[in-house]
C-alpha cells in the first residue's frame, strides 16, 4: 500500500498539470478522445459511456499568468473564464476534443458561445440542466438532451451507443460517489486524519483520472489516511460554502486550517458528488440518469429550489457534521454564490448558527487578511461554545 504522502504527491502532480499531459497520455494509450466540462455538474457518465475521458475543468487557479484571457472579459467578471480562455489560447487544451458548458451561470453560458466562435473545429455543447423539477415534464426534456449528447459523443469518438455501456458507466460513477462520500465522512468525523487541502487534492484527481482508477485511488488514500498517525488539534469545526465553481487557491484552503478551522464539509468539489447515492441500474439508463438529477441532486446555488426550503440543507449539514459555524467563501462577482448567500444567511440566523464571509479569486496571492478573519471567527466560535 502506498503512503498518504505518495497519494498526495500523485494528486498534487495532477492538480498542477494545467497542460493536461495526463489526458494526452491517456489518449495515446487508448486511442480515444477526451471531453472536458466546466463546473458544476455535467453528466460524466454519458462521456464515459461514449468511451471518452471525462475531464472536469476548473480554470487554471493561480498557476498560469493571464496574458490573453483578460482581453476577453471586463474587470467585473469572475476569474475562471479568463484562465480557461488563457489555457485554450495557449494550446494547453488542444488535447481536449469536446467541451461541455453546463448552465451554471450566464458567464459559463456565454463562454459556450465564445468557444463556438473561437474554436469552430471543436465539439461544443451547452448543457441546459432542467430548472423545472417536475419528474415527467423535465424528465422527458433532460432525457432527450442526454440522448442527443450521447449519440453525438459516440459519433465523435467512433463508438456504438449501447445501454450496457451506459449501465456500466452509471455503476462506475455510483461507486466513485460512494468513495467520495466515505472521504467526506472521514473529514466530518476525524478531520485531522484527512486535512482539507489533502482531501481536496485527492478528489480533484478525479478531474482527469478515469473513473474506476480514481475510485481505487480514493479507497487507497482512505486506507492510508486512516492508518496514519496524525494528532488531533483543538480546532473549531466549520462548513465552507459558496466555492463550488471557481476554486479557491490551495493555499487558501490551507490558510483556513492554519487559522484553526477544521473544514468538516465544503462544496469545493461538489460537482463530483452532485448526485447523491447510486443511480438506478433498472430500466432505461438515460431515463435513470435524468431522474437521478431531478430527484437525487444536491442543493446548490446554480439550480432552482422548487420547495422553497432555502438553506434547510445547510442547517442540516451543520448539524450532521457537528460544525460550529459556516464560512461563506465565494469567488468575487459570482452571481450564483453571491445571490444565494443572503438566503442562506437567513436560514442560519433562524437556526442560530454563526457565520462569516469573504470573497476570493482563484489567483489570489495574499492570505493574511483571510487568515486573520478566519482566526477571529474560530476564536469567537470557541468562546461561543464555551459560553
Amino acid at each position: 500500500m502506498d503512503s498518504v504522502d505518495q497519494y498526495v504527491a500523485r494528486a498534487d502532480a495532477l492538480y498542477h498539470d494545467v497542460s493536461y499531459r495526463s489526458v494526452a497520455e491517456w489518449k495515446t494509450r487508448t486511442g480515444k478522445k477526451a471531453a472536458g466540462h466546466l463546473p458544476v455538474y455535467a453528466p460524466r457518465e454519458i462521456i464515459d459511456a461514449a468511451g471518452m475521458l471525462p475531464v472536469a475543468m476548473h480554470g487554471a487557479g493561480d498557476q498560469v499568468e493571464i496574458i490573453r484571457g483578460d482581453a476577453y472579459f471586463q474587470s467585473y467578471i469572475c476569474q475562471l473564464p479568463r484562465s480557461t480562455i488563457e489555457l485554450a489560447m495557449s494550446g494547453r487544451l488542444d488535447d481536449i476534443d469536446a467541451f461541455l458548458f453546463p448552465s451554471t451561470c450566464d458567464v459559463i453560458r456565454n463562454l459556450s458561445g465564445m468557444w463556438k466562435m473561437l474554436f469552430p473545429k471543436k465539439f461544443v455543447r451547452y448543457l441546459d440542466l432542467p430548472q423545472n423539477f417536475d419528474r415527467k415534464v423535465a424528465g422527458r426534456f433532460w432525457a432527450g438532451e442526454l440522448r442527443h449528447l450521447y449519440a453525438d459523443l459516440c459519433a465523435l469518438n467512433g463508438t456504438t451507443p449501447s445501454d450496457d455501456a451506459l449501465r456500466l458507466s452509471l455503476a462506475r460513477f455510483s461507486a466513485n460517489r460512494r468513495a467520495v462520500a466515505s472521504l467526506m465522512a472521514l473529514r466530518a468525523s476525524e478531520p485531522w486524519r484527512a486535512p482539507a487541502a489533502e482531501a481536496y487534492l485527492i478528489i480533484r484527481a478525479g478531474d482527469v483520472m478515469p473513473v474506476e482508477e480514481h475510485t481505487a485511488f480514493i479507497e487507497g488514500y482512505l486506507a492510508a489516511a486512516q492508518g496514519a498517525d496524525r494528532p488531533m488539534r483543538d480546532y473549531t469545526r466549520v462548513v465552507v460554502t459558496g466555492a463550488f465553481c471557481e476554486q479557491p487557491p490551495l493555499e487558501l484552503i490551507r490558510t483556513l486550517e492554519r487559522a484553526g478551522c477544521y473544514l468538516v464539509w465544503d462544496d469545493f468539489t461538489v460537482g463530483a458528488r452532485f448526485l447523491e447515492g447510486d443511480v438506478s441500474l433498472a430500466g432505461d439508463p438515460i431515463e435513470a440518469l435524468a431522474q437521478a438529477f431531478l430527484n437525487q441532486s444536491v442543493k446548490n446555488a446554480c439550480v432552482y429550489e422548487p420547495d422553497g426550503k432555502k438553506g434547510e440543507w445547510l442547517v442540516n449539514t451543520v448539524r450532521d457534521t457537528r460544525a460550529d459555524g459556516v464560512v461563506f467563501a465565494a469567488p468575487s462577482f459570482c452571481d450564483p454564490a453571491l445571490l444565494e448567500q443572503p438566503m442562506l444567511v437567513t436560514a442560519l440566523e433562524r437556526a442560530g448558527i454563526p457565520h462569516t464571509s469573504f470573497k476570493y479569486a482563484e489567483n489570489l496571492g495574499q492570505f493574511q487578511v483571510i487568515r486573520e478573519q478566519a482566526g477571529t471567527f474560530s476564536d469567537g466560535l470557541r468562546l461561543w461554545s464555551n459560553a
Binding site: D128, N132, L339, E340
Partner: protein, 451 residues
C-alpha cells in the same frame, strides 16, 4: 423649432403611453377593492396574453427598478439591500427591488404596490431571474411557478425544447393561474389577445425599421426604450397597445415625410451625423444626460439590442393565435438574451448593413452578466466582419456609483472621432485607389532604364 419649444412637445403617442401606465398603476393600487390578483413576472419571456386571459395584473420588477433609478430613488434602495447583506457584486436591479420592498414598496407613481399573489418565474435568458424570485419568495412567502425557457445554446429551437415549454405552460403555469383565480383557462380568449398582439407587433416593427431611413425619424435606443414599453410589459394583447403602436407609426411616418429626426428631451435631433448600433442596456440613473451626450454630437442610434430583450419581432416573430401555446414558447425562446453569442453577433452584423450604421457602441453594464460576458468578443468579431469601428463604454443600470459622466462622454467623443477618421481614411483610400487606377491607365513611358 427651438430646443426649448420642442422639448416641451409631447406627441400624442407619448401621452397615450403615459395614461396607459398610470391606469395600470391605478388598477394595481385598487386591488384591495377589486380583488384582482397580482402576478410578478419578468419582461423577457413574459406571458402577458396568458395572464390577461385570466384577468390578473402583471408587475415587472425590472421596470420598477429602472423607474426608481429615473426618479433618483435607486441609491437608497440599493444601499438598503447592501446593508442587509446583499453583495456589491450582483445585479443592481435585484438590490433596487429588494431595497424598495424593504422601504415600503412604493411604486413609480408614488402608490404602494400590492404584494404578489403568485411569482411567475419566466426564466428566460438570465440566471439572476431565478435567484431574484427565490429571494422574493422569501420576502413575500408566496407561491412560485417556474417556467424554464431553454437557451438556444446551439443557435436553434429544437422540437424537444418547444415540447418542454408547452408542457410546462399547459401542465404547470395554466393550472397555477386557474388555482389562483378560480377561473378555467379560456383558450379562445387567449387567441383573441394574441391576435391583437400580432397587430401591434406589426406596427412596432415598422416603427423600429423606420430607422433605416436617412435621417432616422427615431432613436432606437433611448427613444426605443419608450417605444417597446407597452409591448414588453402589461399591455401586449390589449386594444390600447394596438392603438398606441398605430399612432406611433403614424407619427414616425409624419417625421419621415417631413425629413425630421428623432424627438429627444432636448428637442428634435440636430442634423444626423452618426448612425450607431448600441448593444447592452442603458444606464437609467443618468438617462437624460446619457442621451444628451449622443444628441449633442448628432449621433442617432438606429438599431439596438436592448429593444429586443422582450422579443425579436424584427426577425419575424409574431404571436400566432392559431397555435397559442407553441407560439408563446417560441416567443420566450427567441428573446435576445436567450440567443447564443454567435446569433447575437449575426443580428448586430445584419443591423450594421440594413441600417447603414457607422459602427457598434457597446454599453457594458456591470450588473448584467447575461449581456456583458462575451461583449468584448462581440466587439472584436463585429469589427472583423464589418470593417466598421466598435466602441466600448462601461456603466451600470441603476447604480449611480458606476456612472462616470466625464469618462463616458470622453469615450463617446473618442469613438465618434474614430468614425470620422475612418471615414476620412476611407475617403482617402478611395482617392488612393482612384489615383492608383489612374496611374495604371497612364501610357507607359519608360519601363526599365535599359529599354
Amino acid at each position: 423649432m427651438s430646443t426649448e419649444q420642442s422639448a416641451a412637445v409631447k406627441e400624442p403617442s407619448m401621452l397615450q403611453q403615459k395614461e396607459m401606465i398610470a391606469e395600470h398603476f391605478r388598477e394595481l393600487s385598487r386591488t384591495g377593492e377589486t380583488k384582482k390578483k397580482v402576478v410578478y413576472t419578468f419582461v423577457p419571456g413574459n406571458l402577458t396574453e396568458l395572464l390577461l386571459a385570466f384577468d390578473v395584473l402583471p408587475v415587472h420588477p425590472e421596470i420598477n427598478a429602472l423607474q426608481s433609478a429615473m426618479r433618483q430613488k435607486a441609491g437608497a434602495y440599493i444601499g438598503e439591500a447592501e446593508r442587509i447583506g446583499h453583495s456589491e457584486d450582483v445585479c443592481t436591479y435585484v438590490k433596487c427591488d429588494i431595497g424598495m420592498k424593504r422601504l415600503g414598496n412604493v411604486g413609480p407613481t408614488g402608490e404602494v404596490l400590492p404584494k404578489p399573489d403568485l411569482l411567475l418565474l419566466s426564466y428566460t435568458g438570465c440566471f439572476t431571474f431565478m435567484k431574484w424570485f427565490e429571494l422574493l419568495r422569501q420576502e413575500y412567502d408566496c407561491p412560485v411557478v417556474m417556467l424554464h425557457t431553454p437557451y438556444q445554446g446551439d443557435g436553434e429551437i429544437t422540437p424537444t425544447m418547444t415540447q418542454y415549454m408547452v408542457e410546462q405552460i399547459r401542465q404547470q403555469v395554466i393550472p397555477a393561474l386557474e388555482k389562483l383565480t378560480g377561473k378555467s383557462f379560456d383558450e379562445e380568449r387567449l387567441r383573441e389577445l394574441m391576435r391583437l398582439s400580432a397587430r401591434a407587433e406589426d406596427d412596432m416593427v415598422a416603427v423600429l425599421e423606420s430607422a433605416k431611413h436617412k435621417p432616422s425619424p427615431i432613436d432606437a435606443y433611448f427613444g426605443g426604450v419608450y417605444y417597446i414599453g407597452p409591448m414588453f410589459t402589461a399591455f401586449r394583447g390589449t386594444q390600447g397597445a394596438v392603438d398606441y403602436y398605430a399612432q406611433l407609426r403614424r407619427e414616425c411616418n409624419q417625421r419621415i415625410a417631413a425629413g425630421e429626426g428623432p424627438i429627444t428631451p432636448e428637442g428634435t435631433s440636430p442634423k444626423e451625423r452618426f448612425r450607431l448600433i448600441v448593444e447592452g442596456p442603458p444606464n437609467w440613473t443618468h438617462f437624460r444626460e446619457f442621451w444628451k451626450m449622443f444628441h449633442d454630437e448628432g449621433a442617432v442610434v438606429v438599431a439596438s439590442t436592448y429593444t429586443k430583450v422582450g422579443g425579436t419581432y424584427d426577425l419575424g416573430f409574431r404571436h400566432d393565435p392559431t397555435n397559442p401555446l407553441e407560439s408563446l414558447a417560441q416567443y420566450c425562446m427567441g428573446c435576445y438574451t436567450n440567443r447564443n453569442l454567435p446569433q447575437r453577433l449575426d443580428m448586430i452584423v445584419k443591423y450594421a448593413d440594413e441600417y447603414s450604421a457607422d459602427g457598434l457602441l457597446i454599453n457594458s453594464v456591470k450588473s448584467c452578466n447575461s449581456f456583458s460576458a462575451g461583449q468584448l468578443m462581440l466587439l472584436r468579431e463585429f469589427e472583423r466582419r464589418t470593417g466598421k469601428p466598435g466602441g466600448f463604454i462601461e456603466t451600470d443600470l441603476v447604480d449611480a456609483r458606476y456612472f462616470s459622466a466625464a469618462n463616458v462622454k470622453n469615450r463617446i467623443e473618442s469613438y465618434l472621432q474614430m468614425i470620422v477618421q475612418k471615414r476620412t481614411a476611407g475617403a482617402a483610400s478611395v482617392d488612393l485607389a482612384a489615383a492608383a487606377s489612374l496611374v495604371r491607365s497612364l501610357p507607359v513611358i519608360n519601363q526599365g532604364g535599359a529599354a
